[in-house]
């Protein structure tokens, strides 16, 4: 199983390796004569890149998976959540990239790394908070069968926000590469295309988890609050792991 997983991950890395090289060459080949078709091609590749990129680790999929495995929901919600995360992901990447580029201009890479560590710590703390909140809500409502919609929407937004706030370095890199070559508009469009791709993958992780939840909750019947609580605890653990990782690891 582990070996299979390793090969799968390596295959993903190699796909990204190829796409990464293809997209940078295509962006560089952009000129006045081919600008429309090449721009479309670049956006297409960016979408594909996002799709493959988000299959790899991170991007809040674990959080989405745990949340939907432990909270009753429907498939539409998973799509909403996936796209909410990717929208926040894209905005955060665009704001940070343009911010660093316009304000600081230089030492991009160094700031880039400090910044991703800071946002990772903020995200981890928020995830712990969301987990605690979910445990509290599950405990408070343990008698009730159906939860209030308002509480659910609130917690769903919190899950999406805490996962999406860490800007995706992959998106930031593409945006910056475009900016450096003077393609400001294309940079923003590529970030959006890539995020749509990532949103699809994250949504699929949610749908997969809802399918699991449907199987489990029919067995548990009225004790779904136990599952919700477990989910909350798991999310707290997840956040703690992330926090440790973010504080310990320094990238370069």
């Amino acid at each position: 199983m582990m070996e299979l997983y390793g090969h799968f991950m390596q295959q993903l890395v190699m796909y990204q390796y190829q796409i990464n090289s293809y997209i940078s060459q295509t962006i560089r080949s952009l000129n006045d004569e081919n600008s429309f078709t090449t721009s479309l091609l670049i956006l297409g590749i960016a979408f594909l890149y996002g799709l493959v990129h988000a299959i790899g680790p991170g991007h809040g999929k674990a959080l989405v998976a745990v949340y939907f495995t432990s909270n009753k929901s429907d498939y539409k919600k998973a799509f909403k959540m996936g796209y909410l995360i990717s929208i926040i992901h894209a905005i955060s990447a665009l704001v940070f990239t343009f911010g660093i580029f316009l304000i600081l201009k230089t030492m991009f890479r160094r700031h880039f790394n400090e910044l991703s560590q800071t946002t990772m710590i903020i995200s981890a703390v928020m995830i712990i908070g969301v987990g605690l909140y979910l445990v509290y809500e599950a405990y408070k409502d343990k008698g009730k069968i159906e939860k209030k919609q308002k509480v659910k929407t609130k917690s769903e937004f919190a899950v999406a926000f805490s996962a999406g706030i860490v800007p995706c370095p992959g998106v930031m890199t593409i945006v910056l590469f475009n900016i450096v070559l003077g393609h400001y508009f294309l940079g923003v469009a590529a970030a959006i295309a890539m995020s749509i791709g990532m949103g699809l993958t994250i949504s699929l992780a949610g749908i997969f988890s809802i399918a699991i939840n449907k199987k489990v909750t029919t067995k548990l019947e009225k004790k779904t609050y136990l599952l919700e609580m477990m989910g909350g605890v798991l999310i707290v653990l997840l956040g703690s792991f992330l926090l440790l990782g973010a504080m310990g690891g320094h990238h370069h």
């Binding site: 940078s24 680790p57 991009f108 890479r109 370095p169 890199t173 593409i174």
Partner: protein, 172 residues
């Protein structure tokens, strides 16, 4: 189910590669011993453009001597903490990383390249080199066609290290 959760948990802890480095080894073996072990790292275009923003202070698209010094001190040497993503085994045992000499940096086809030597002069057949980033942040890529060896034959294989994948270079 357990494995499923475990996979998600562990995969979340690891970042995924955003930087891709091609490794071009240039090795000379004499009388069975490694005489020269030179590596050239070619960094992907996108990361290279970010790197150039930082280090190409006069903006001429080239790396000058003082810019090279800056790269060596502030970028290259910081990778000591990661053993330069290189793990060397002699007779099956992992050895501490040998001294690195002759560092130079240049730009080739929009890619920033680092060249350097490992001062390793061991028996070639007993020596193997592995490349990979256990943090999963950088993808080190080694292909057969990247390798240049004189005086011996090289073999490149993939290595599965549970949560990251690497490449091994051996001699025959």
């Amino acid at each position: 189910m357990k494995i499923f959760v475990l996979l998600f948990l562990t995969s979340l802890l690891f970042a995924h590669p955003h930087t891709f480095i091609d490794i071009y080894p240039d090795i000379v073996v004499e009388n069975g011993k490694i005489k020269k072990l030179h590596l050239t790292w070619k960094i992907d275009e996108m990361t290279s453009s970010m790197l150039l923003m930082d280090v190409d202070s006069n903006g001429n698209g080239k790396i000058d001597k003082n810019e090279e010094k800056n790269i060596e001190q502030n970028y290259f040497n910081t990778m000591t903490d990661y053993d330069f993503y290189t793990y060397i085994k002699v007779a099956g045992k992992k050895v501490t990383l040998p001294e690195i000499t002759h560092f130079h940096a240049f730009v080739e086809k929009n890619k920033v390249c680092y060249g350097f030597d490992f001062e390793l002069h061991t028996n070639a057949k007993e020596t193997s080199l592995e490349f990979g980033d256990s943090d999963f942040y950088i993808a080190m890529v080694l292909k057969d066609e990247f390798v240049k060896v004189k005086g011996a034959k090289a073999k490149v294989t993939g290595v599965d290290n549970d949560f990251y994948y690497g490449y091994r270079l051996e001699f025959k």
